[in-house]
């Protein structure tokens, strides 16, 4: 039942003598200047990956239609499954196809069978980031200002007498403000959405740790660094600021790799900014600098919960860095061999 049409359906140029609406007889001779390819419309059937039920049948699908467009068409017949929660794959157990994949370039016949899996309710990355970073910013300030019901009533709305506590508040607030602004203006996300349940998981992590750290740093019985005192705090501040600038530089460099609205992936290289020269040694220097920032903050506050937070973050970021490093190696043949995932030469 394939309809062979002479011209691409988007160009509605009917040849002389042809009746509109009736497909022209197949002509294989290329015309005058442009070689006209015979265009074959595809049929697409979408089956449920688990039950194999036929969920949707689309006919007259253009060969250059993308998976993204097919998802929109599927959404029309099943309005509860918006495009972001659709996983379309060639094999019920296979990997999801990308939105940019073009129908005719996939290993399918002219009747393409796809399998659908519901990814569950989705939430945009931007929403998740704003919520998970906004929480720590506000929570920490609540502890800093000693809002009632946290500490003993006689301390309500008092301020700490230790200058390092004020410094720590500024650093912590600056860090999360930076993250919020980067989310809004710097980052270019590959995926629009993530599963809804992630927001609960992520917020518990960030908000929980922020509250735990803030409780001790702003506690009336807080003990400022004793091992090397003021010198320790100064060095810690320098490390923290250095790594904040470094982390920001990396985010900008990564953003510049990707034109607006695109999802291209390229190998990051050092730029004129000296903070990016670390790309020579490390695949994910944004994580390296992030670790450095929290290490600085730990040193500054000399607080065990902060050390725990730094350690847990380090483990998680190492897992992510190794994954990213592996995908870089898989995707790019000419990936620089000297680089480690997160710590130069070590990890």
């Amino acid at each position: 039942m394939d309809t062979v049409v002479l011209e691409g359906a988007t160009h509605k140029k009917a040849g002389p003598g042809s009746v509109p609406g009736v497909p022209a007889p197949p002509v294989k001779r290329p015309k005058a200047k442009k070689a006209k390819k015979a265009v074959v419309f595809f049929e697409v059937e979408i089956l449920d990956a688990k039950t194999k039920d036929k969920l949707c049948f689309l006919d007259k699908v253009e060969p250059n239609a993308t998976i993204g467009e097919i998802k929109s068409m599927f959404h029309k017949s099943h309005p509860q499954w918006y495009a972001a929660r659709q996983s379309i794959r060639l094999d019920p157990k296979g990997k999801s196809l990308k939105d940019e994949d073009v129908l005719q370039h996939l290993p399918v016949g002219t009747t393409a069978t796809f399998y659908f899996r519901d990814l569950g309710a989705q939430i945009s990355w931007v929403t998740v980031f704003l919520t998970e970073y906004g929480g720590p910013l506000l929570l920490y300030l609540m502890f800093y200002f000693r809002v009632p019901f946290i500490y003993a009533p006689k301390y309500d709305f008092t301020t700490s007498k230790h200058w390092v506590v004020h410094l720590a508040c500024m650093c912590h607030s600056f860090h999360y403000l930076k993250r919020l602004l980067e989310t809004l203006f710097v980052h270019r996300f590959s995926h629009g959405t993530m599963p809804l349940r992630n927001i609960f998981k992520n917020c518990t992590y960030y908000w929980g740790f922020a509250a735990w750290m803030a409780y001790y740093i702003n506690h009336p019985l807080y003990t400022p660094p004793t091992i090397y005192g003021e010198q320790q705090v100064r060095i810690a501040l320098i490390i923290f600021l250095f790594c904040q600038v470094g982390n920001f530089s990396i985010h900008i460099a990564l953003r510049n790799l990707r034109p607006p609205g695109s999802k291209t992936r390229k190998i990051p290289y050092p730029t004129k900014n000296p903070f990016t020269w670390i790309f020579l040694l490390v695949s994910c220097p944004n994580y390296t600098y992030e670790l450095g920032s929290w290490f600085g903050f730990t040193l500054m506050t000399q607080c065990l919960p902060v050390a725990f937070f730094t350690a847990v973050g380090f483990i998680q970021m190492t897992v992510w860095a190794k994954g990213k490093h592996r995908s870089y190696l898989k995707e790019f043949r000419d990936y620089p061999p000297l680089r480690s995932p997160i710590l130069p030469f070590v990890l």
Binding site: I217, L221, T223, I227, T301, Q302, C303, L304, P305
Partner: protein, 243 residues
């Protein structure tokens, strides 16, 4: 908690087809057989110790002291099972197994051993007996499975006894933790207060209360998981009945 390790129920399906041997080679299998035999023997020693002590004393009270050392030794030895999963010779989840074993070890050392006053409580006998019977069945189950010669009786026992033993063990554990609370609060055991130079505090008393509370969501989940496993495993065997 006193339930058999949940993750390892995967091995239960394999008495007909030895699918689980995708991990261990011959050497690992030999090691695991020895490990499980030793553990079965160890818990049998504890069981015998309990019975003998009861017969000698003529009462149920204070039997903990007669099996204190083998209990600590063999329950702590179960930590190896986490390693087995991590290394891959046992196809169970490290996290699940870790959680199971660590909760047992916690009760043995951080509660019963650390708070001397609870050692003469009857609740200790309650969970120790539950653990003992459970572990004897569980380790012999593994032993026979590894040797591909699992008697239906052992499989049945493993998936049936828990119906009583699990609630029994949980009750014993909770009562013991509850009994320890006043002593922990009085002595400030394992607790750290402010101010200190690491700006950290920990209240073991509150921690124990939170532990008790955590049983509420966790126990039903594990219990019903085992019940579902039971349906699956015992239903299958009715069909095949090869042994």
């Amino acid at each position: 908690m006193s339930a058999p390790a949940i993750g390892t129920t995967k091995t239960a399906h394999s008495d007909v087809a030895p699918k689980k041997k995708r991990g261990p080679g011959a050497l690992a299998t030999a090691y695991l057989v020895i490990y499980n035999v030793v553990m079965t023997a160890g818990w049998l020693v504890i069981a015998v110790g309990l019975v003998r002590a009861y017969l000698v004393r003529g009462s149920y009270h204070g039997l903990y002291f007669s099996i204190e050392k083998p209990l600590k030794f063999f329950q702590t030895g179960a930590l190896l099972e986490i390693l087995h999963c991590a290394v891959g010779i046992v196809p169970s989840s490290v996290v699940l197994t870790g959680f199971q074993v660590l909760s047992r070890v916690f009760l043995t050392w951080a509660v019963t051993h650390s708070v001397r006053e609870v050692q003469s409580e009857d609740s200790v006998l309650l969970f120790v007996s539950a653990w003992t019977i459970t572990e004897i069945i569980r380790y012999s189950f593994y032993t026979f499975s590894l040797l591909n010669h699992l008697p239906y009786l052992i499989k049945w026992a493993r998936y049936t006894f828990f119906l009583v033993l699990y609630p029994m063990g949980v009750t014993g554990e909770l009562l013991t933790i509850y009994a320890a609370l006043p002593y922990v609060q009085k002595t400030g055991l394992y607790s750290v207060t402010l101010p200190n130079k690491y700006n950290f505090s920990f209240d073991y008393y509150t921690f124990l209360i939170l532990t008790m509370v955590s049983y509420i969501p966790l126990f039903p989940q594990l219990y019903f998981h085992m019940m579902r496993q039971r349906k699956k495993v015992l239903a299958h065997v009715e069909e095949y009945k090869t042994e």
